[in-house]
């Protein structure tokens, strides 16, 4: 790959602006709606992508994919309804920022973290592709069990206010996540006799129910979703809010970079994905923060970490797809279908036979991110005004439209009823302080954790010591223990320092 080749690729992709821009707009619209994953949208638009030239189809798919990942954070910040599982962690600090009247800043942080996180990891992928492709081979089921545990420790973090309630919510979610057929024999477990649950609990209805419907049922109590101070700030939303958001983005530039790389590394592992990446990034960000106690109260780092990781995943997912011919996720699988239709076979040979396609994918992604920041940033000012809509109008629209969106992923009417059932559970959990995010983490990570655990145990024929059999795995175990112990050690040190200070004052 020469510089001339690379510059030529960039020029070609910039020339496809007429495809990239509509794809970005469509990606944002469908990304805001829970239920529309990029793969769903791409499958629905398959006839269109098959009918055009391969480079046009790729530019369209990549731009839509990246925009979709970015847009999931918008409703998560404004109305506490994540557009996708990957944006669920964004609600933890994004929504409190909105309630404090900082919706504009939170949106700008979401956009810049997503765009620059995505852009940096895409450029890194372009430069380091041969080495990055090895990560997927190094991280096996044993190591992935530990990566999942990193995500699950977030339950303990969320449960900080009422540890017992948080753990009950998390384990309840984990058990719900086990519903469906098992990974070895395909025997159904706890499906209540519904065939629709044989594939497990679908994420979208769970997400819609636990967040959108339960939140809408709660917001009925108030006239607006923000307090007086928030209303005043939303009414007078000026460009200064965007500038302030940009200032915060510059201030936390390092946070954007390292959490984006968390997303990249997790995205490379086939089957992992944005949800686990966002949760792990949030948990790690809190762990290494100088002010962990403020997480969950509406701070910029809490928005940046999940959003940067969420978009770091976009390039990571394509690494095994292009380098090994193994789709890193369902969206990558759809892209593979389109490429195969055009006579291109994914895998290492693609770089020799069609380098303009193989590298073009990442160049296209970088260009899409550049277009995206200019498209979405000015919209933050107007988007933030959604909080001024009275709940009299907002709640019914949220409930009925998201119920419809619950249908889209699998096209079962059953999923609408399931979303309502989760809405009821979410409402009760919300009102009685059982954290709905903890339930959702369980539902998302439970099946993945089981899948990797059973696979590892199957390899060792039931010997649990396999989990401690690799150097990388043991290193990850040590880091996991460290991440669990560190907060306690830090609290102990703070208390000790405080006590010493008091003792000094008394003297």
């Amino acid at each position: 790959m020469t510089w001339d080749f690379l510059l030529g690729q960039f020029a070609t992709q910039f020339g496809l602006w007429w495809v990239i821009w509509p794809a970005i707009l469509l990606g944002i619209v469908v990304g805001i709606l829970p239920g529309f994953s990029p793969q769903n949208t791409l499958i629905m638009l398959l006839p269109l992508t098959l009918a055009v030239k391969v480079e046009v189809a790729l530019a369209f798919m990549i731009a839509l994919y990246c925009a979709n990942h970015l847009a999931g954070g918008i409703p998560a910040i404004l109305v506490k309804i994540p557009g996708s599982g990957g944006a669920a962690a964004t609600t933890l600090d994004g929504y409190p920022m909105t309630q404090k009247g900082q919706a504009q800043q939170a949106l700008v942080l979401c956009f810049t973290a997503s765009v620059f996180g995505g852009l940096i990891t895409t450029l890194a992928t372009l430069a380091l592709l041969p080495w990055l492709s090895q990560i997927g081979l190094v991280l096996r089921s044993v190591e992935m069990v530990i990566v999942m545990l990193f995500g699950l420790t977030l339950i303990a973090v969320i449960a900080a206010k009422d540890f017992l309630k948080g753990l009950i919510a998390g384990f309840f979610g984990l058990l719900i996540g086990v519903i469906g057929t098992d990974h070895i024999y395909n025997t159904p477990r706890a499906t209540f006799g519904f065939l629709e649950l044989y594939d497990g609990v679908p994420l979208v209805p769970a997400l819609i129910g636990l967040f959108a419907i339960s939140e809408a049922l709660v917001m009925i109590e108030e006239k607006l979703i923000v307090g007086r101070e928030g209303q005043a700030k939303a009414v007078s939303a000026q460009w200064a809010g965007i500038i302030d958001g940009l200032r915060l983005s510059v201030k936390y530039w390092w946070q954007i970079i390292w959490t984006a790389f968390v997303g990249l590394f997790i995205g490379i592992v086939p089957g992992a994905g944005a949800s686990i990446a966002a949760f792990v990034a949030y948990q790690q960000s809190r762990l290494w923060s100088k002010r962990p106690e403020l997480y969950g109260t509406g701070i910029p780092e809490g928005v940046i970490a999940p959003e940067a990781a969420n978009n770091g995943v976009t390039s990571g997912t394509l690494v095994p797809t292009l380098a090994l011919g193994v789709p890193g996720g369902s969206t990558a699988a759809v892209m593979m279908i389109v490429l195969q239709y055009h006579g291109l076979v994914m895998g290492p040979r693609l770089f020799a036979s069609n380098p303009e396609v193989a590298y073009g994918v990442f160049v296209s992604m970088a260009v899409a991110y550049i277009f995206m920041i200019f498209t979405i940033l000015p919209l933050a000012r107007y988007m933030s005004r959604i909080v001024l809509i009275e709940t009299t109008y907002l709640a019914p629209v949220i409930i009925l439209v998201t119920i419809v969106a619950a249908f889209v992923e699998r096209q079962y009417l059953f999923d609408m009823a399931l979303a309502l059932a989760f809405g009821m559970i979410g409402y009760i959990a919300h009102k009685t302080s059982y954290h709905v995010t903890a339930i959702l983490i369980g539902i998302i990570l439970g099946p993945l954790f089981e899948q990797y655990l059973v696979r590892a145990l199957r390899i060792s024929q039931g010997d649990i010591t396999i989990l401690f059999s690799s150097t990388l795995g043991n290193t990850l175990w040590a880091l996991l223990v460290l991440s669990l112990v560190l907060p306690f050690w830090r609290t102990w040190r703070q208390k000790k320092a405080l006590a010493a200070e008091r003792f000094g004052d008394e003297r």
Binding site: V29, V30, M44, L45, L164, K165, I168, A169, F171, F172, L174, L175, I176, V178, D182, H183, I184, Y185, T187, P188, R189, A190, T191, F192, I213, A216, L217, I220, T392, Y393, A395, P396, V397, I399, L400, V401, I403, V404, F407, V408, Q411, L413, M416, A417, L420, G423, M424, I425, Y427, I428, A429, K431, T432, Y434, G446, E450, L453, V454, L457, R458
Partner: protein, 163 residues
């Protein structure tokens, strides 16, 4: 002294306990690979619920709580709206296969807005109309999903075919 409404606090543990019981029943005859993870999670969950039950029992015994559901029903003036929205959603889901997406969304949203206290006719028409029209354009015209078609969708399809 206000007593803590522990009845509401115990609903999620009660649901989780019932589900854990059903889960164990459903996996009783399965191979170890199919149950290992579920048994582990279910057992921990039951232990946690037991601790929560003991905690609630101690609060009750000390007279600091009661078994009321006040947390769930407060504030009382929002309760009819909330229950009405849930019932309306059930009707909406049930009616959609017959009415189709667009009409059911229009009627459902108009009814929901009325339930929430909106009385101005223009708003009761234009808000549901714009949402239903947008949903039609996005879900059916653009993305061609399999959402149920009803009189509106069929009429539009027939008109398009005729032209």
């Amino acid at each position: 002294m206000n007593k803590a409404p522990l009845g509401a606090d115990l609903i999620i543990p009660a649901l989780a306990l019932c589900f854990a019981g059903y889960f164990f029943f459903s996996i009783a005859d399965l191979a170890w690979e199919a149950k290992a993870n579920g048994v582990l999670i279910g057992t921990v969950l039951i232990v946690l619920i037991a601790i929560q039950a003991v905690r609630a029992g101690m609060e009750l015994a000390a007279g600091r709580g009661d078994l009321s559901l006040d947390t769930l029903t407060a504030p009382r003036d929002a309760l009819p709206k909330r229950l009405g929205m849930v019932l309306l959603t059930v009707v909406f889901i049930t009616a959609m296969p017959w009415l189709g997406l667009t009409l059911s969304l229009f009627l459902g949203l108009a009814a929901a807005l009325y339930l929430m206290g909106v009385r101005r006719r223009a708003q009761l028409f234009w808000v549901p109309f714009s949402v239903a029209a947008s949903a039609y354009l996005l879900f059916i015209a653009l993305l061609n999903t399999d959402l149920p078609h009803g009189p509106v969708e069929n009429a539009i399809a027939a008109s398009v075919a005729w032209f």
